[in-house]
């Protein structure tokens, strides 16, 4: 059942990738980091690249970081990398602000990320009798994640289900924004 579900989720991701209009990951990065309060650093990075390496047309974050190192702006590059890592962890208040900005920019993908989170939690901790209830009881806004009573279904494993859902949501959304690789699919706790 789980492998079937993982295969379905992979397929859904594959199709999403082919139908998604090209996402400018650099724009997403700038928007997210600006929301995280690092807009000035990003603008400084872009300015330095434009000034010292005008021959480059920066297309994505990786290229931006590479060029920053190349022109001797490693300090700025490291700062941006730290902020990107923080965004990928999705824990801090700043990261929540960055993710919220992406939710606003990518509503369809955010919707899919919620579904992906619910499915990932079930793959990890077991099927829930009413998955739609899990979806209704999962919320994300400027304050962060909120998991309602339906998420207590797994008892002692509920914290694990919630953790899995959080990580899956963040990974799926960042993948859609071009800021992370395709998310890993969780293994079932029952397999241990």
């Amino acid at each position: 059942m789980n492998s079937h579900k993982v295969q379905m989720l992979r397929s859904i991701n594959q199709i999403e990738s082919t139908i998604r209009p090209p996402v400018n990951s650099l724009s997403m990065f700038i928007a997210a980091l600006t929301a995280m309060g690092s807009g000035e650093t990003v603008q400084r990075a872009l300015y330095r690249v434009e000034r010292h390496a005008p021959e480059y047309v920066i297309k994505d974050v990786e290229q931006l970081l590479d060029v920053l190192y190349e022109i001797g702006e490693g300090v700025i590059a490291m700062k941006l990398q730290r902020r990107l890592a923080e965004l990928r962890e999705g824990e801090s208040a700043d990261a929540i602000a960055g993710l919220w900005e992406l939710v606003d920019l990518l509503p369809h993908d955010a919707y899919m990320s919620f579904s992906f989170a619910v499915e990932s939690a079930q793959i990890r901790c077991g099927e829930h009798p009413d998955p739609q209830e899990l979806l209704r009881d999962l919320d994300f806004d400027r304050e962060g994640f909120r998991f309602g009573p339906a998420w207590q279904f797994w008892g002692e494993h509920s914290p694990e289900a919630i953790k899995t859902a959080r990580e899956a949501f963040v990974a799926h959304l960042l993948h859609a924004a071009g800021l992370a690789d395709e998310p890993d699919y969780p293994e079932s706790l029952a397999d241990y």
Binding site: H4, Q7, S11, I12, I15, I19, V118, P131
Partner: protein
């Protein structure tokens, strides 16, 4: 797909389909791209060995059909062939038959739960949402070549 417990996956598939085709009802029903159909589903290729000429119906011009299942419309078989199919482990199912105007490459659609014949331009799935998405991808593919 499990009818009772896979509501979320179904919703996700509908969301993808809606993104591709817009109005799902118009795409699927008004244009009659997806129809209910009684079909014979065989468990695996091995089971085809004991159903004689009827096995050809599960062949796509000599090749295996696209997708991971073996389904064919029951109307393609005689009563005797259907009986042979059921005796070989097959079952009669209520399937969703869909238009399949262009091939959906395996690497683009590694989705379980469907079967399609490029030669006949027809596919089958046991779940409406899977039929919908495979059909939408196939139609999209065919329109790219126009």
């Amino acid at each position: 797909m499990d009818q009772e417990h896979d509501g979320i996956l179904r919703v996700m598939l509908r969301a993808i389909a809606a993104k591709m085709v817009g109005d799902i009802d118009e795409f699927a029903f008004e244009r009659k791209r997806i129809r209910r159909s009684v079909a014979l589903q065989m468990p695996d290729r091995e089971s085809l060995k004991s159903i004689g000429e009827a096995a050809e119906c599960f062949s796509d011009n000599g090749n295996a059909p696209d997708g991971d299942l073996l389904i064919q419309a029951a109307r393609r078989f005689s009563k005797e062939q259907l009986t042979a199919g059921i005796n070989a482990g097959g079952k009669l199912i209520s399937a969703y038959e869909f238009d399949y105007p262009a091939r959906v490459l395996r690497e683009d659609m590694n989705m379980p739960g469907w079967c399609a014949y490029r030669t006949d331009r027809i596919g089958f799935a046991t779940c409406f949402e899977i039929a919908l998405v495979v059909c939408a991808v196939s139609v999209r593919e065919s329109e790219q070549w126009k």
